[in-house]
Each structure stands twice: as structure tokens, then as C-alpha cells.
């Protein structure tokens, strides 16, 4: 028996590589498209943005739905069944999830960019249907798992947040045409809390407890750490989302403080694992993880300003930018950078030949360029927002687009090297 075929065993088998990769490729494509839209909106469109339809809102949702959630789905469908040793669901359901979700995100972004209500409603409906299917599959998978509290508790919180953010999101979309919500901005803030810290944030924390120790070969994070960060996060999310929706500053601030404590517990757990690692030299992807970890607490602190009544322009915009582009996008692209060649290497011995080396599959130059451009974009755009300066912001948008192109090149090269390896293995098999 080939080890590759053993790895595809029935009990907790790996998915065919095309399934998670379709999510990853879509995430990379939406990432690129988002930066193109931001550049098209221009610095003048970004400065002063506090909501409302148009290119900026469309780009924001291409990042949140198109890149962050799409990656979470692709990683989740592959990693959860392996981590929990339980099947996630039939492959047709996973394919259906993609068929609903990817066009839904695209339609929704077109609707937001153009203001066409039909596209907004249709796209939002399809995207929510895809997300709900994901929630059902994940919920069913985690239902009887009790030996991975760090993963399951956070994933459970993510699923609950997903339901909340989807309901609020649909209300916000309908409100664009009907105008029935008493405070659209407050609901949008609650939606952002549930989406950023709830759905994506909880998935990021939960997966971190498995992925980070595995990628750096560090010690396992104690279950107690995961339980604590989940309990604190749950309390923080309830307070933060309710406080934002009702415009209650003290409740929102309490949510932020609880979030900061949860963040401290999580980062201490991660630091202990990283410190105990076998790999003395951290891989290139980890530089982006450092950026993400630094900006997670910074985003929470930045949230204090709008919560305490500071003007939405620029403080709410800055908070949203640090949350979505600083913490989440940095973390997700770091994980994508590691997981794409990792999965390719796992599948590369399926035909019985030598496995492809992780170090060979992952090109370094595009990853370096992406890191430099992404970091520059974060700094320049944040500075431009706060100071109201057009030129730094414009340079930041260009840097962001250059980073997204580099990440696209990185993805293309990983897939090309994997295909070359498999073609060579197939040819060797044929000759043998």
C-alpha cells in the first residue's frame, strides 16, 4: 500500500486536493480584486469612509467574505475532520457550499459596488446559504467531540457568531432599500464585531491551537488555555455586539476589555508553544503571524475610540481597517502561505513516488514581496486615515495591490510546482 493511499483511508480521509484548493484559489482571486477596487475608489474614496454602498464597501466584503471566510471554509473542511477524526459531511455538500458561496460573494460585491439591489439581495442570499451550509457541517462535526476544547469551543462560538452576523447582514442589506432600521451605523458596528472578532476571530483562535504548534513543532497548548480564552471571548462578544447594537458605550467598553484579556490568554498560550518549539528557525510565513498577533490587541484598543464617542471618521474606519486588514488578513494570508504547500506535500506521494518537499513547493521571493508590501500598506493606509493625508494612503493602496499580486504569484507557483511533481510521478509510474 502506498503511504499516499493510506493517507486517503476511509476513516478520516483527506479530501481530494481540488476541493480545498478551489476555496484557496478563490480567496486569492478575491483578495486581488479587493485591492483593485480599493485603488479604483482612490484615496479620496477611502478617506472619510464610514459605510454606505460603493467600491470601498464592495472591496471590504471581498476581503471579509471573499478572502477571510473563503479561506476559513477551505481550511476548515480539510483540517476539522483530521483534527476531530470525524467526517465533515458528504463531498457533494462541500461542493454545493462552494457553488453557492463563491458566485454569491461575487454577485454581492457587484451589487454593493453598483448599488443594484437585485445583485445585493441575490448575492447575499447565496452567500448566506453557503455560510449556513458550512455552519451546519461544522456544527455536526463538532457535536460529539470533547477532546479538543481549544478548537471546538472557539469553533462553536464562530458558528453562533455566524448566525448572528448573517441575520444582521441581511437586515443591513434590506435596509439599504427599505430604510427601516433606526440606526444603520450601530447595527453595522455590531455586524462587524460578530464578523471580525466572532466568526473569523474565533475560527482563527481555534485553528491556532492546532496549527501553530504543528507548524512550528511546538508543545501542545493546554486545554485549560483554550477553555479560558473561549469563555472570555464569549463574554466579550456578547457585551461588544450588544453594546454596539444598542449604542451603550460602557457595555461596549466592557466587551473590549474582556476581549483584551482573552487576547492575552491566547497570546500567552501561543508564546509558550512557540518558545518550546523544535524548529529553531521559524519559517517565512511566521513573520506575517507576528504582524497579525501584534495588531490583534491594537485593533481592540483602537475600538475604544469610537466606542467612547470619538468621530467615526477616522476612528471607526481605523478600527475596522486594523481589525480586517491588520489582524485577520495578515493571519489568514500567513496560514494560506503555509497550508497551501503543506497540503500539496501531503498529497504529493499519492502516486507512490518521493513526496515533494515543503521547502521546494513554497517560493520565497513572492512571499517576501507580499510581506513587505502588506506591511507597508498597513502602515501607510493607517497613517493616511488618521492624518487625512491623500498621498500616503494612495501609496498604501498601491503597496496593497502589489502585495496581492505577489500573493497571487506565490499561489500560482505552489500549484504549478505541485502539478509538475505529480506529472513527473505519473510518468515514472507509467514507465515503471
Amino acid at each position: 500500500m502506498f503511504p499516499g493511499s493510506f493517507m486517503m483511508g476511509a476513516k478520516d480521509r483527506l479530501l481530494p486536493p481540488s476541493i480545498p484548493y478551489r476555496f484557496f484559489v478563490a480567496a486569492v482571486a478575491f483578495h486581488l480584486l479587493a485591492w483593485i477596487l480599493l485603488l479604483a475608489a482612490g484615496a479620496e474614496g477611502v478617506i472619510g469612509f464610514v459605510g454606505g454602498q460603493g467600491l470601498v464597501l464592495a472591496a471590504l466584503h471581498l476581503i471579509t467574505l471573499g478572502t477571510l471566510a473563503m479561506t476559513a471554509m477551505g481550511a476548515g473542511i480539510q483540517l476539522l475532520p483530521v483534527a476531530t477524526r470525524r467526517p465533515l459531511g458528504p463531498i457533494w455538500a462541500i461542493k454545493l457550499m462552494f457553488i453557492l458561496y463563491a458566485p454569491g460573494v461575487a454577485l454581492f460585491a457587484i451589487g454593493l459596488a453598483t448599488g443594484l439591489a437585485g445583485f445585493q439581495h441575490g448575492g447575499a442570499g447565496l452567500a448566506v446559504a453557503g455560510l449556513m451550509l458550512f455552519a451546519v457541517l461544522v456544527g455536526a462535526n463538532l457535536r460529539k467531540v470533547n477532546d479538543l476544547p481549544g478548537v471546538t469551543l472557539h469553533a462553536g462560538l464562530a458558528v453562533v457568531s455566524l448566525v448572528g452576523l448573517a441575520v444582521l447582514g441581511l437586515l443591513l442589506v434590506i435596509d439599504f432599500t427599505k430604510g427601516f432600521l433606526p440606526d444603520h451605523g450601530a447595527m453595522a458596528a455590531a455586524h462587524a464585531v460578530l464578523a471580525g472578532y466572532g466568526f473569523m476571530g474565533m475560527l482563527a483562535l481555534g485553528f491556532s491551537y492546532v496549527l501553530i504548534p504543528m507548524f512550528v513543532l511546538g508543545s501542545a497548548v493546554p486545554d485549560q488555555v483554550g477553555r479560558r480564552s473561549a469563555a472570555l471571548s464569549a463574554a466579550g462578544l456578547v457585551c461588544g455586539a450588544a453594546g454596539s447594537a444598542m449604542g451603550l458605550a460602557p457595555l461596549t467598553v466592557l466587551g473590549i476589555v474582556l476581549g483584551l484579556v482573552a487576547c492575552g490568554v491566547y497570546l500567552r498560550g501561543m508564546a509558550a508553544s512557540v518558545k518550546s518549539r523544535m524548529k529553531k528557525r521559524l519559517e517565512p510565513f511566521f513573520r506575517m503571524v507576528w504582524v497579525a498577533w501584534a495588531l490583534l490587541p491594537v485593533s481592540l484598543v483602537a475600538g475604544l475610540a469610537p466606542a467612547l464617542g470619538a468621530p467615526a471618521d477616522p476612528w471607526a474606519s481605523l478600527w475596522g481597517f486594523l481589525l480586517v486588514f491588520g489582524w485577520l488578513l495578515s493571519f489568514v494570508t500567513a496560514i494560506l502561505q503555509r497550508i497551501m504547500p503543506f497540503l500539496a506535500s501531503m498529497h504529493s506521494s499519492a502516486l507512490g513516488g518521493k513526496p515533494a518537499l515543503l521547502s521546494h513547493l513554497a517560493p520565497k521571493l513572492p512571499a517576501d514581496i507580499h510581506l513587505a508590501c502588506h506591511s507597508a500598506a498597513l502602515f501607510l493606509i493607517a497613517a493616511g486615515m488618521v492624518g487625512g493625508w491623500v498621498w500616503p494612503l494612495r501609496l498604501g493602496l498601491i503597496a496593497g495591490l502589489a502585495g496581492a499580486i505577489s500573493f497571487g504569484v506565490y499561489t500560482f507557483m505552489v500549484l504549478r510546482r505541485y502539478r509538475s511533481h505529480m506529472a513527473a510521478a505519473a510518468a515514472a509510474n507509467h514507465e515503471g
Binding site: P3, D12, V210, M214, A220, F342, M346, S349, P355, A356
Partner: protein, 193 residues
């Protein structure tokens, strides 16, 4: 009867401990039916071990050498002595005496992650069952990084280690073959030539 079976094929290094003569009358707890049904017998064994008084005995019949269990019970003061009675049938004798004789003569190393490793004719064996992920992977990689020559490594696992193959490849190793029997997944690792 138990005594005649147990004397058939000594498995651990060294002779049986002196206390084993007294353990032979103990009725074995056979966990094989539980394993066949897919039930982890850990709780049943712990329940049985909990009522043993100091100086008492516990005998377990299992389809393989239950090394993680022996390690855990050693931490609770049980010495143990295991024998392979036939293919797929091990009998392990436990004696609650403070754990003085645990694995005596078996030349077993216990790594920092808690994995046991020992040498047999077909290579170096490492048992990573009952370790929390990613500790099984760490223990395996730590072992192979310390090896020189052409030693083969046999891994005793309780799950299919999907994430191990890329890290092995990076170190010039691969999974040459694998078998999966109940909760005993076994992998044979070798250097890539």
C-alpha cells in the same frame, strides 16, 4: 491455566519478576471485545485499577502491547510485565507495589513528550498513542533526527497522522508502509534513498 499460557512466549527483556507467580491466579480483564466494538477501554481499565489495594494485581488481555496504559499505570504505582501469548493477544500483569519493577529489563526510553521507544529485530519502535497532538509528531521527528545509519522506525499510533508526511519528507524520511488495526495504526518509516 493462565500460568501455562503466560509462560509460552516471554516478550519483555529479562525474566518475569518474582511477584508474577502470585498474579497468575488473577482473572484477566479482556478489553479486546471493547476494542472490536470501537470503544476505548481506557475508562474500564482505570475503573478496575482504582479498586486494587496496595500489593494487589490486575491482569489485562489486549490485542497489542498497551504501552501507554502501562506508562500511565506506572505513574500510579503499578509495576507491569507483558507477554505476547499469540498473534493479536497480549497479557499484561500489573502489580501495585509503587512501580519499582516497571518495564525492568525492557530497555525502554521515555522521551520528553512521554513517548516510549525500544529496539526490536525490525527496527526502533516508538509508541505515541495517548499523546496529545502535536506531541506524537514531535516525538517521532525527535527520534529520527537523532538516528544515524539505516535504522527503520516502527511507529505505534492511534490515528492516521496526516500531517506527518511533509515533515518526514523535509528530513529525508518517508512512510514506507502502514497498517491500521482497530486503534493500533502502525507505520514503518525509512530514509528516502
Amino acid at each position: 491455566m493462565a500460568g501455562s499460557e503466560a509462560n509460552r512466549e516471554p516478550r519483555d527483556g529479562g525474566g518475569p519478576p518474582e511477584w508474577m507467580a502470585m498474579a497468575l491466579d488473577t482473572v484477566p480483564l479482556d478489553v479486546r471485545p471493547l476494542l472490536t466494538e470501537g470503544v476505548d477501554p481506557f475508562a474500564a481499565v482505570m475503573e478496575a485499577a482504582a479498586v486494587i489495594e496496595f500489593g494487589g494485581f490486575l491482569v489485562i488481555d489486549a490485542p497489542f502491547n498497551p504501552s501507554p496504559l502501562r506508562r500511565i499505570l506506572a505513574g500510579r504505582g503499578f509495576s507491569s510485565y507483558g507477554r505476547k501469548l499469540s498473534e493479536g493477544h497480549w497479557r499484561v500483569f500489573f502489580h501495585l507495589d509503587g512501580g519499582a519493577d516497571w518495564e525492568s529489563g525492557a530497555e525502554v526510553d521515555v522521551g520528553p513528550e512521554g513517548a516510549m521507544s525500544w529496539r526490536e529485530d525490525d527496527g526502533i519502535h516508538i509508541d505515541v498513542r495517548k499523546l496529545v497532538p502535536p506531541n506524537p509528531m514531535l516525538a517521532i521527528l525527535r527520534l529520527i533526527e537523532g538516528l544515524s545509519g539505516t535504522d527503520c522506525v516502527v511507529v505505534h499510533h492511534e490515528r492516521e497522522p496526516h500531517f506527518l508526511a511533509p515533515e518526514l519528507a523535509e528530513r529525508g524520511w518517508r512512510i514506507a508502509r502502514a497498517s491500521n488495526e482497530m486503534v493500533n495504526v502502525r507505520l514503518w518509516l525509512e530514509r528516502i534513498i
